[in-house]
Amino acid sequence: MMEMDNKQAVLRLPAEKLYAHELEALRAADQDTKPAGWQLSPRSVLTFLTGGEVGGVTITPKYIGNKRLIEMAIATLLTDRALLLIGEPGTAKSWLSENLTAAIHGDSSKVVQGTAGTSEEHVRYSWNYALLLAQGPSDQALIRSPILRAMESGGIARFEEISRCASEVQDALISILSEKTIAIPELGREVSAQRGFSIIATANTRDRGVNEMSAALKRRFNIIVLPAPSSLETEIDIVRRRVGEISASYELRATQPDEEAIRKVVTIFRELRSGVTLDGKEKVKPPSGVISTAEAISLLTGSMALAGSFGTGQLTDEDIAAGLQGAIVKDDAKDQLVWKEYLDNVMKKRGATWRSLYSACSEMNG
């Protein structure tokens, strides 16, 4: 098939294709009972997401962090409830949603992308108007939304960035989630969801208040908040993996940052994000902007690009300092003060290993 031939050139494969062999191994080894409409038992879904080894095949962890959150997400889908994943930008919401869908349903492509332009038709159904005019309402003329298709097949539909849609579009979900049917009055029938149907939606904490979800809709979701990585080691692990993957695919001509550099950047990010030093002894002021794991990753790859294109190819403290300055000082006057205070009160006291980064940052911050 065309698609298979193009596999190498495709920029990004869906999770069920990317990890097809893992899913296959899990399916083969699965002994627990599968809920109606599920491809795997809940336990196997958990293994797929958190990693392990099944039948000689290593399952790579898809979500590094609190395992309990994944358990709660799976348990939610077990009770036929819709799932809403909320988090700061860069906390792997969509990634988790895609992989959950791939493991449970085997098809993560039924996606509604929430934007300001998303209309109710995208959520329910629309018509092929040429056919509609020629033949009148018919099944052929009906264009089913991803959600309608998921209902018919008993699968999972994904709704990305739900809080970016207008409230009335969001509210179209209320009846779908409580009645589990969509009426199509033009055809004089209604589509009832098959067992296994559910919706996984994602929303961004930073969008709070843009299109606040109605209480009625919120009540129909089980809401799980995805936190920033809980421990330093976890975050370092995530950053190292992603920086490795990204620099390989973009062919950045710089050496990978060493463990020490990653540790420093992640430490700074964590301390500024949580407003307290890692040892919990000293509070620090957080800056105004987002300082997520994803930012740390792009900071490091950005610094690598700097070093590769204009430097020696070795990542220096100056490159990192430039990246840090850009990432942290956004609303300049205030952030600059925050950054200076952090440099003088925390970083300066960290001793020799931090000295050169400190000087580079101080110089940059002025």
């Binding site: 809940p42 958990l46 709660m72 348990a75 009540r219 089980n222 200076k340 205070e341």
Partner: protein, 778 residues
């Protein structure tokens, strides 16, 4: 493990375990023992009967404490669902002999000191050859617990325990599981414990030998072995078999002893959850009570609904509406979570997580308070009248005696003057610091809200070594003392607890600084450390220059005078440095204020400058001076403050004659609006006036400025100049007049003489006219 054919029935428990209590009761019903032997201090027999008396409402605790200083305490808390407590109740109702069989408290408290002592020298040498892995046994244990939880796929050890033990429905299964687990765990950790905590191993060995002896004695006294039930922590159960050696009379004689006393005290679920005396913690006493009640009513399946409804109810009462539909979905989610772990019923953790998802919309913070109320609750136990004195009362009386304050414990108020300095005429240290110790003690009582002592005012306010107290005893004070029992076992501990609570509620740096002072007064260096920490935390968000300056000032005072209270204040130095740095950085920005706010700023700048001079070694004085210079040079800040900053620089010889002359003429040049120019001079004149009077060039510049003004600006500047000179003393004004006289060629002496002349009529009239002058017109 129900006993073998002839031996006693051993029943291993986890303290504070509802299932343990529940299954124990069915064993007792089945065996109908004549004697129940319980792990607990064997000298607490009289308390055991009081424990089950009418009117006792758990949670209550037995408290043992040494009669002598330093006070050591042992605490045995009981909830309604403590297996030990239920066993006592059952024995009383069924006329069965009940007895505690563990070491008496005088031995265990004596051993407590030995256990804390470092290992003897020769052993330490042996150890040095093979350095320990740097892990204490407690850490090894915690690490094992974490691994067990991980292997079982549970989020934490508590959840593992509840799922695998508390939820077991049959007594046999429960007992087998728990004893099997304990003996395996014991085998696994024995070696590590022997290596890293040999004292603990020895201590357990002694306890178990003693308990075996007690069991043996009970059989010897005529009870049939198979009609005896022995209740102990599951950890000890395997070691209580009578095949192991008993403790001999001789050995019992050799046990060290300290005199102790015991009392019952009301306990609270809050304390049970936070600092239980047992290693096996109880994070959610109120939840376990709910579990216990459901078990008794045979309604365990209702527990999830009951729990989540209670949480929803709590939320509603506090104004967060959550529907019944959410409760239903919560129960379903909790059950789905339980089934994913192969469990039959949701655990506490499952229920909490369900509540977080359904009620909190994923945020624990939304439901945290409601959960705390349902999990921990506010239950406080109560005791009927006639129970022995509380430890705090004892401690208070002991302290009064020690500090020779007994005669003040009367209903007539009396005054007491204290001199905190060391009394060098006496020999013992205790006597030398008697007044200081008294002051510490009285401050602690004040902190506890015990209205025995009231602090009066000292005439000489700056004398940090003098204190004046009014002492007055009353029945209320007695009650308040008893109430303090719940805060801690001694006056010191209770005071520390109170300040700690205040710290948690403290939200601004000024009150945090006060708490540091308070803990210093109360002689509580550890709490002072916590307060310092809290101040540090709050300091981050502090952006108010005046508040920061005052806090820095307060800290500096503590640093200078802390020594009189014999408290180490070194730890305050970094904090002061940090705040000083913040203040320094904020100075220029904060100086952009109006004249009304400038008054407060002046005293704040003064405070900072004083600190900078007093602690020039600790703080960044140079940066402060640099910032002052910046402020002095800036034209867009409050002119008065710029002037004030410049006066400090003058005083410190940071600005010489040339700079001064230049700055004065710049500030007072004709183009500058009069109010700003005069305002600047006003700021300049607020400090060290002799410094100004000794600089004639300054007055020359001022003179030149005033004469350059046109009428209108002159009138305006007059207001400010009048205000600036308003606070000068007559002597100083005269000196200025002499200076100006010199400048105008009249000569200082002539002017001086002229000023000394009495006024003649004409001048008087002129001056009276001036009195009517209305500055409001300007």
């Amino acid at each position: 493990m129900s006993g073998s054919a002839r031996g006693p029935h051993y029943w291993g428990i986890r303290h504070l375990s509802p299932a343990g209590a529940y299954h124990l009761l069915s064993l007792l019903k089945e065996v109908k023992p004549t004697a129940v032997l319980i792990e607990g201090p064997s000298d607490a027999g009289h308390l055991a009967s009081q424990l089950v008396a009418r009117g006792v409402v758990p949670p209550v605790a037995m408290l043992a404490y040494t009669e002598q200083l330093p006070v050591r305490t042992l605490l045995y808390p009981f909830a309604d669902y403590s297996p030990e407590y239920q066993a006592l109740l059952w024995a009383q109702r069924n006329g069965c002999h009940a007895e505690f069989i563990d070491l008496p408290t005088d031995v265990s408290l004596a051993l407590q000191d030995l256990r804390r002592m470092p290992i003897a020298a020769e052993e330490a040498v042996a150890e040095a050859d093979e350095p320990a892995e740097g892990m204490s046994f407690g850490l090894v244990q915690r690490d094992l617990y974490a691994r067990i939880a991980e292997l079982s796929g549970e989020p934490d050890y508590e959840a593992y325990w509840e799922r695998c033990y508390e939820h077991l429905a049959s007594p046999e299964a429960y007992q087998q599981a728990i004893v099997h687990f304990s003996s395996e765990f014991r085998d696994m950790t024995e070696e590590a414990e022997l290596k890293s905590a040999p004292q603990e191993v020895a201590y357990n060995e002694i306890r178990e030998a003693y308990m075996r002896r007690k069991i043996h004695d009970t059989i010897a006294s005529g009870h049939q072995a198979d009609r005896i039930v022995v209740i102990s922590g599951a950890h000890h159960t395997p070691a209580l078999t009578l095949q192991l050696p008993l403790m001999t009379d001789e050995q019992i004689k050799k046990l060290p002893r300290v005199p102790t006393r015991m009392t019952l005290m009301p306990y609270s679920y809050y304390k049970l959850s936070s600092h239980s005396g047992y290693g096996a913690g109880n994070m959610a006493p109120a939840y376990y009570e709910l579990l216990w009640q459901s078990m008794q009513h045979g309604e365990l399946e209702k527990l999830p609904a009951l729990y989540l409804s209670a949480v929803a109810q709590q939320l509603r009462e506090r104004g967060t509406w959550r529907s019944t539909a959410s409760v239903i979905e919560g129960v379903r989610l909790a059950e789905a979570l339980a089934s994913m772990h192969g469990g039959s019923r949701p655990t506490w953790r499952d229920l909490r997580d369900a509540a977080t998802v359904l009620f909190g919309h994923g945020e624990l913070s939304v439901v945290a308070e409601a959960l705390a109320r349902i999990d921990i609750g506010t239950a406080i136990g109560s005791l009927p009248e006639g129970v022995s004195q509380t430890p705090v009362q004892d401690d208070l009386n002991r302290q009064l005696k020690r500090l020779k304050l007994e005669k003040y414990k009367s209903l007539v108020s009396a005054e007491l003057e204290l001199d905190l300095r060391e009394n060098r005429r006496v020999k013992s240290e205790e006597a030398a610091y008697l007044d200081l110790n008294r002051s510490v003690f009285l401050h602690r009582l004040q902190t506890l809200g015990i209205r025995f002592a009231r602090k009066g005012h000292v005439r000489q306010t700056d004398a940090t070594w003098a204190e004046h107290w009014v002492l007055h005893w009353s029945p209320e004070a007695e009650i308040e003392t008893v109430e303090s029992t719940l805060k801690g076992e001694t006056i010191e501990l209770a005071a520390a607890y109170v300040i700690h609570e205040e710290l948690l509620a403290c939200t601004d740096i000024a009150s945090a600084a006060k708490l540091i002072r308070k803990s210093c007064d109360c002689g509580l260096p550890q709490v002072m450390g916590q307060a310092t920490h809290a101040l540090q935390q709050l300091a981050v968000d502090a952006a108010n220059f005046e508040q920061i300056a005052m806090t820095v000032h307060e800290l500096s005072i503590l640093l200078q005078y802390g020594s009189i209270r014999r408290i180490d204040t070194e730890s305050l130095v970094p904090l002061m440095q940090q705040l000083f740095l913040r203040g320094t950085l904020l100075l220029v920005e904060a100086a952009g204020c109006n004249d009304a706010a400038a008054a407060g700023m002046v005293s704040a700048i003064h405070a900072m400058s004083t600190v900078a001079q007093e602690h020039y070694r600790e703080v960044d004085e140079q940066l402060w001076t640099a910032k002052l210079k910046e402020l002095a040079a800036r034209d867009d800040r409050n002119a008065k403050l710029s002037g004030y900053a410049f006066s400090i620089l003058l005083e410190r010889h940071e600005a010489g004659e040339d700079e001064c002359a230049q700055e004065v003429s710049r500030r007072l040049s004709p183009g500058i609006p009069a109010d700003i120019g005069a305002g600047w001079f006003e700021g300049l004149s607020m400090r060290n006036r002799y410094g100004l009077l000794s600089r004639p060039y300054l007055w020359r510049e001022l003179d030149a400025y005033i004469s350059s003004l046109d009428d209108e600006p002159f009138k305006r500047s007059l207001v400010f100049l009048r205000r600036a000179f308003g606070s000068f003393e007559p002597r100083e004004k005269a000196a200025i007049a002499e200076l100006l006289g010199d400048l105008w060629g009249a000569g200082a002496e002539t002017v001086g003489e002229a000023l000394q002349q009495p006024l003649n009529e004409e001048e008087k009239v002129q001056l009276d006219e001036l009195n009517d002058f209305d500055f409001g017109d300007l």
